[in-house]
Structure formats: C-alpha cells, structure tokens
C-alpha cells in the first residue's frame, strides 16, 4: 500500500529526495518541538493538568486570547478588503508608498509596535485623549488587545487579498452591470464570492498570528489577571516561576484550540474551492 503511494510517477523529478527533505524538515522544526511539548505535559498528573488549564485565570486568558484574535481577524477581513481593493483598483499618488507601508507591521519588532500603540492610545495619547472623552478606554482593556492584534494581522489579510482582487476582472462587474445588477448586488453576488477563498486564507493567517502574538500586546494590555492577560503571557509567567510543566500544559491547550479553529477554516476553504475548480460532475 505504502509502496504504491510512493512509486507514483511524478511530474517533478527527484521526488524521493524532496519528499525526504520535507519530512525531515517538518519533523525537526515542527513535529519534534510539538511532541516535546506534549511529552512534557504527559509527565503531569491528570488532575494537576486539569487544575492548571481550568484555573479561572487560565480560562479568562483563553477567552481574551481567542476572542480578541477572532475579533481582530474579523476587523481585518472588512478593512483589509477595503485597503486591498483600493490599492489594486485605483491609481493615486503615493500608491506605491502606501503599498509598502502595509508591510511595516511585518518588519517592526512587535515590542516597538506595542510601545507605539500605547503612546497613541494612552489616556493622554494623541487618539486616546479624545477616545477617553467619549468614554472609551483603549489601553489596559480588551479593546487595546484587539487593536494591537488587528495591527499585527492586517498585512496578512491585505497581502492575501491583493492577488485575488486583481483576479476579479473588471469584466465581471461590467457583465453584471449590463445584465441589470446594481453595484451592491454585484458586490454581494459576484465580487464577494470570488474573493471569499482568499479572504478565508487571510483570516486564517491573521488569526493564527494574533493568537501567538505576545510582544505588542503586553505593553498595551496592562496585563491585569482575568481581565487583560493573554494566554502567551500567562505561559511566560509560569516560566518565570520555573513552572515549566504548567507552561507546557497551557501550551497544549492553545495548540489544540488553534488546531481546531484552523482546521475548521481550512475545511470551509476546501469546500469553497471545490465549488470553483471541480473537475467532475
């Protein structure tokens, strides 16, 4: 059975070598460390494990980490789409410059982003001053966490959407228009479905990045236990207390939840793609 799978003739030469390398690389870089994480947790007693991962503090951090990440990725889905659309569809001065600006959150050390955001959104910051007048406090609340995670995830969404939007030919909109569709109708029925797969991919990437984010969040969050403490920070706190097994336990929980979310999105994605490039009836 396994022989047959491996002996399939391939278009690319050197399948044996490349597959071997792929396996090795994935094992060394991804699977082994993950296995080590699980192993370390396995040395814990089950009750101890449950105690660590279901402590109110841990539960609060899950809620914040995954909740804020989902909100941030959703915000990015909307505004990232608008940014990508503007950059692809319109010609305007400084377009290249703004396009380059998109990558800044990639390049910036996350701590720097965190400090910058805190400066702007602090109660006496440029924006925070006016927001606090309106009764909205950003820093040291979950809103601040969301803002930081949105910033971090934005380039993932924009960069994934850009090629997809470039592929939605103007002709499709023109066709819809000559057939009698209004702008909103054409957007809802034609454009959105066409870029949806890319949007899901961007969402996945932005979400995954946000869940793992640490540096930029800790500055703006204030890290109040139960309120503005994200799971990665809780892990670091465990580590600083030399509670390696507790840290590993939280890590495993993050791993499982992340995997479940990503798997769901990927399944959605595959389902959507199958509708587009189906090869059989």
């Amino acid at each position: 059975m396994s022989e047959r799978t491996f002996r399939q003739p391939s278009v690319l030469p050197g399948f044996g070598l490349t597959f071997g390398f792929t396996t090795f690389f994935l094992s060394a870089i991804v699977l082994l460390p993950l296995a080590a994480l699980v192993l370390m947790t396995a040395s814990m007693h089950w009750n101890e494990f449950v105690h660590v991962v279901t402590s109110p503090r841990a539960l609060g951090s899950y809620r914040l980490s995954f909740g804020a990440s989902l909100i941030a990725a959703s915000i990015n889905a909307v505004f990232g789409f608008i940014i990508a659309w503007t950059l692809v569809r319109y010609e305007f001065p400084l377009r290249k410059f703004i396009d380059a600006l998109i990558d800044m959150p990639f390049a910036l050390p996350t701590a720097v982003s965190g400090i910058a955001l805190t400066t702007v959104f602090a109660q006496n910051g440029w924006l925070g001053r006016y927001l606090s007048l309106a009764g909205i406090q950003v820093t040291y609340t979950w809103i601040g966490v969301t803002v930081a995670l949105t910033l971090i995830g934005m380039p993932f969404m924009v960069r994934t959407l850009q090629p997809a939007i470039a592929e939605v030919q103007k002709d499709l909109e023109d066709a819809a228009e000559t057939l009698g569709a209004g702008r909103f109708y054409a957007f809802r029925r034609i454009i959105l479905p066409t870029v949806l797969p890319a949007m899901l991919t961007g969402f996945t990437l932005a979400f995954a990045r946000a869940v793992g984010e640490y540096g930029s969040v800790i500055f703006i969050a204030g890290n109040l236990p139960m309120k503005t403490e994200i799971t990665p920070l809780l892990i670091v706190i465990h580590l600083e207390e030399f509670d390696y097994r507790g840290a590993a336990a939280l890590g495993v929980v993050m791993l499982v939840i992340s995997f479940a979310v990503l798997l769901t999105i990927n399944l959605l994605h595959t389902w959507g793609r199958r509708r587009l490039v189906a090869t059989t009836r």
Binding site: Q169, D174, A175, E177, T178, G180, T194, R275, L276, T279
Partner: protein, 591 residues
C-alpha cells in the same frame, strides 16, 4: 434605427480614442466594427453598452437617447472576449442572473433558461460550472446569458479571440444563426477581417479612433475609398499612378483606359489599389491577355493551400518607388496570388522573368497621393525629410516622400513659363521667414497642396479647416478628409462672418453654411467634423484660433494665390504653426 451614434467622442487624457463617430445601425442588422487594436472600436462598443461615458455626442437606442443612461438600464446584452462568466455559479445560475436581478419567478426563469440553452446548443449542461466547460462552450453560455433579459441590442467584444480556429468557425455559425432567429440588432467588434466578411451585413472600419468607411463587405473590398481600408481588408498593392487623358498610367502605357475626371485634362498623381488576384503573369507581352504594366522577376513563391502567393520584383523601367507595399517595407515588390489553374498553365520558379498585366485597378478618391519635399539646398531638404510629423504621416499613409532641390524657390522671383509646369503630390516646405513667397512660387509651378512645416512640429491634436471662396470648398474638404484619416486629431470647420451690427442678422446664414459644410464632409468624404462660428475678419479670427493652443494644424483653402501675401500675410508672420494650403483656382482650369 436601432442604434444611432451622433458625433460620439471619447478622450483619454486629452487625446481622442473615439473621434467624432456618427453611425446608424438598422433594426436586425449584423454590424461588424473592424479595426486594428487601439483603433477605438472596443471603446466605442463599451460606450454603446454604457460602460464608458462619452465626452461629446449622443447615443440613441431605438430612438431613445441613452447618452446619460447607466448600463443597467440600457437593455443591451454584452459578450466579452474572456467570457466573463461568474465562476462560482453554475451554467443555469449564470444564465438566470439577469432574470434573478429582475425578480422573475423560478418557473419562468427555468423555462427561459431551457429556451436559451437550446438556442446555443448546450442542452443539459445546466448544472455544470464554467470551469468544467471548454472555451467554446463557455462563450456559448456567455451568449445565452447576454440574451436572457431579451435585450434590444446584442454587443460582442471580440468574442472569438481566445478560441482556436475550428471552434471559432463553429461558434461563428451559431452566433449568426441565433442572430437570424431572434432578428436582434447585433454589433460585433473584431480585428479579424475574415470574421467580419463571414458575419457582417455591413462593416465599419475604424482606425485611430475614426470610423473610416462603412459599407457592405463586397463593396468595401472592391471599392475602398481609403488606403487604410484597401490594405486592411485583404491584401493590396498600393501604386502611385498618373491619371492622364489616356487613362491611368503606372509605366508608360495606360493600364486602365478610363475617361478620368482629371480637372482640365491635367495629368496628376493618384493612388491606385491593385489586388494580388487582379495581376496576370505571362511569359511575354504577346501572351498577356490584359493590359501590360511592367516586366518583373519572381522573387519568392509561397504555396498556401488553394492559392499560390508570389512576390514579384518589378524591373527598373517602372520606378520602383511607385509601388508602396502595405507593410511599408523598403523592398518594393508586387504581391501576386494565382489560382491552381493559373499555376498549371504557366508554372513559375523563383528568378524567372515574367511580364505583368493588370486585370483591374481601383483608383482611390484621395487627393493626397505623395509628398515632395522642396528646399533651396540639399541639406535643408534632408532636414525636412526627417521631420517627425512628415515621416509619421508618410508611414501612416503608406506613401513616398520625394525630395526636390529648388534653388530658385524662395528667391522672390516669379516662376517663368519655361520651367517644368507639372508638380506631383503635395509639396512640403519648411516654415521660415519668406515662406509665403515659397508657397506662391510652388502654386505657380502647379502644386495644388503645400504643407508648411515648422521644425519639430508634433502631430496636431486639432485640425482647423477654413476656405476662402466657394471654388476651394470641395478640394479643401477632400484634402482634409484624406489627411484626417491618418491623424488622431479633432477636425473643426471654422465659419467666419464679418463682425458688426449686422452679424446677428447673419447668424442663421452662418449656421447654414456650417451645417452645409458638415453634411458635405460627411456625405461626400465620410469625414465627421465639428463646426464653430466666429465673427470678425477671416485672417484675424484664424490667427486667434491658432493662437489658442500649440498643436494645431490649419488647412486653408484658397482660390486666389495672391491672397496669401496679401490678407493672409499675418498667418505667416507669427511663429508659424503647421499649415496646409489647398489651392483651387476659381475657373477650374489652370494657367
């Protein structure tokens, strides 16, 4: 009329891509817009569909002015080159899109869809996704989709461009069939003349944003009016021939004995179209059954299926520069095609000497045949030959630029009668001080058109037309039409009435003159022009019009050569604009 276009103009960043196009398309007609890429044909189609706004002019569909109506309310169906199918929808959903937008009931939608799928021969494909269909099938779906809402007009933008030859022919037949069955007015845009011939009731040929000629395919092929149409529709050899009292001459003897309409029996140069299949090749003059043109040598033989294609180099007895190839190459040879029968009767090998006869020759009604650069010295003539506007015009007109050194030209003496009186083609001189004298000298020598070219003059964006004296009207319009076919410039006829208290009373008269000028240009020369009315003296108003922007060219028709140094001296005084003088004396006969 189903579709009426009235002086439709569309500009992109200042330069017109669709330039004053007026056109009537009848009910149920299959109209093909033919032109090379960049000729503005697709833009015109998008303007009809309402996807592109126009800067000037009106568009009516079935008598309803839709110039400012959005595409979704125009009731047209549009088919794109790349199909533009909605990839995430099935064939059925694609076709029903327009019906769903219109909130039609599901049962009615289904019935209409079945009907359309039958029409394009795709029954049973309802549930397929576009990605599961071949290119030809996808385009059929696109046609069905465009027809779903029963549009009054079907527009097709290069619908076969992405398909291979066999599928293309099949789909072509389907579209023609569908069009006949529904009797729907159809406009198809293509660059493929074969496609145009196969489908069209009428063809409109576009180039440089202008609609050059409109007509039935066979008419356009047999009797084109312009060089562009002659060479774009099928292959053509363009010859610079002479129209004499004896007929059309290419060499010494007339190849076409025809009572020419040469004014006053004067010999002048014309542009003749010689189709490759109208050329006869024979071993010697005695065996020739048609009119002898020249001797030649077979240079190349290409066998291409049913027809043999040859390139024949013409011997020196015929000035080789008189043959202008369609692709404007340096080598001058004739393109000849022969049928299987002709090949069997007289087999040929490369290098063989042959005698060339002409079965049929078509003379273009263009007054601008070729250019002759005139300058007092060799160096000045060379410089003038390299003027960008002149070389561009010559390339686009597929014609020759000759050079003539005339030391006496600007000497200020009047031409004496012993000098050679005939002048071939349009004269070109440099714009310099004393240019008036040169123009007058050339007119006396028999030049009918003189182009005064400032150094480094760019291609004009606007051509201003005016004539003084009714006898110059026809010639001026003919020259303007001939020139404007090769320029992407706007054409404006400026009518000028004397200023003063009576001007208001004369207004209707002036308007009439403008309308007359426009309709004559349209009817006789196929050129659509704008018109404007000014009040004042002719010379001042023209100078003021030219001063408005730099890249303009003035075509001035005169019937009295002396007027140039008289009232029009001011036109030559300022920094000179490009200027084309058309001279047509009042009595029609010349010295």
């Amino acid at each position: 009329m189903s579709i009426t276009l009235d002086q439709v103009t569309k500009r992109y960043s200042g330069s017109p891509v669709v330039n004053d196009v007026s056109l009537d398309i009848g009910d149920g007609e299959f109209f093909v817009l033919l032109g090379p890429s960049g000729s503005g044909k697709s833009t015109l189609l998008r303007a009809i569909a309402g996807l592109t706004g126009v800067d000037h002019g009106r568009i009516s569909l079935h008598g309803r002015d839709v110039t400012h109506v959005a595409a979704r309310w125009r009731g047209v169906g549009l088919v794109f080159q790349n199909y533009a199918l909605f990839r995430h929808m099935s064939v059925a959903e694609n076709i029903e899109f327009a019906l769903r937008v219109r909130r039609m009931r599901a049962a009615a939608r289904r019935a209409r869809r079945q009907e359309l799928l039958r029409l394009v021969a795709l029954e049973g494909m309802d549930d397929r996704l576009p990605a599961q269909l071949s290119g030809g099938q996808q385009q059929r779906v696109a046609v069905a989709r465009a027809l779903a809402h029963k549009p009054e007009v079907l527009l097709l933008d290069e619908p076969f461009g992405a398909l291979d030859a066999k599928i293309r022919e099949e789909l072509r037949r389907t579209i023609r069939q569908v069009q006949r069955e529904l009797g729907i007015t159809t406009v198809l845009v293509t660059h493929d003349q074969e496609e145009a011939f196969a489908l069209a009731d009428r063809i409109g040929v576009m180039n440089l944003g202008r609609l050059l000629e409109v007509g039935r395919p066979d008419d356009l092929y047999a009797r084109p009016a312009t060089r562009f149409v002659a060479t774009f529709l099928g292959a053509a050899n363009l010859l610079l021939a002479r129209q004499t009292a004896r007929g059309i001459c290419v060499g010494e003897d007339p190849v076409l004995a025809r009572a020419g309409e040469a004014p006053g029996g004067r010999e002048h140069e014309v542009v003749a179209v010689l189709r490759p299949e109208e050329i006869e090749l024979a071993p010697n003059r005695e065996r020739l059954r048609t009119n002898y043109m020249a001797r030649g040598m077979i240079q190349e033989i290409l066998f291409a299926g049913a027809l043999e294609r040859l390139r024949v180099r013409v011997s020196d007895e015929l000035a080789s520069a008189q043959i202008v190839r369609a692709d404007n190459g340096d080598d001058s040879f004739l393109e000849v095609t022969r049928t299987q029968h002709e090949q069997r009767v007289f087999p040929l090998v490369p290098g063989q000497e042959v005698t060339i006869g002409v079965r049929r020759l078509h003379v273009l009604p263009t007054p601008l045949s070729s250019f002759t650069v005139c300058a007092p010295s060799e160096a000045a003539a060379d410089a003038l030959m390299r003027e960008p506007l002149l070389t561009e015009l010559a390339t686009r007109m597929k014609t020759r630029v000759a050079s003539r050194v005339e030391p006496m030209m600007c000497a200020g003496e009047s031409a004496s009668a012993e000098l050679e009186p005939s002048f071939i083609g349009a004269a070109v001189i440099a714009a310099q001080s004393g240019a008036v004298g040169c123009v007058e000298w050339l007119l006396h020598r028999g030049a009918e058109q003189v182009l005064v070219l400032p150094a480094g003059a760019p291609a004009p964006h606007r051509v201003v037309i005016h004539w003084v004296g009714e006898s110059a009207r026809r010639a001026t319009l003919a020259v303007a039409a001939s020139l404007l076919r090769h320029l992407s410039a706007e054409a404006v006829y400026v009518g000028i009435l004397p200023a003063g208290p009576v001007a208001g009373a004369q207004r209707p008269l002036g308007m009439r003159a403008l309308l007359d000028a426009r309709s004559e240009a349209q009817a006789v020369h196929g050129l659509d022009i704008r018109t404007e009315l000014r009040f004042g003296t002719v010379e001042n108003e023209l100078a003021a019009r030219l001063a408005e922007s730099a890249d303009q060219l003035l075509i001035l028709g005169i019937s009295d050569a002396a007027e140039l140094s008289g009232r029009f001296a001011s036109l030559f005084a300022q920094p000179l604009r490009a200027l084309l003088i058309v001279y047509q004396p009042a009595d029609g006969a010349r010295r």
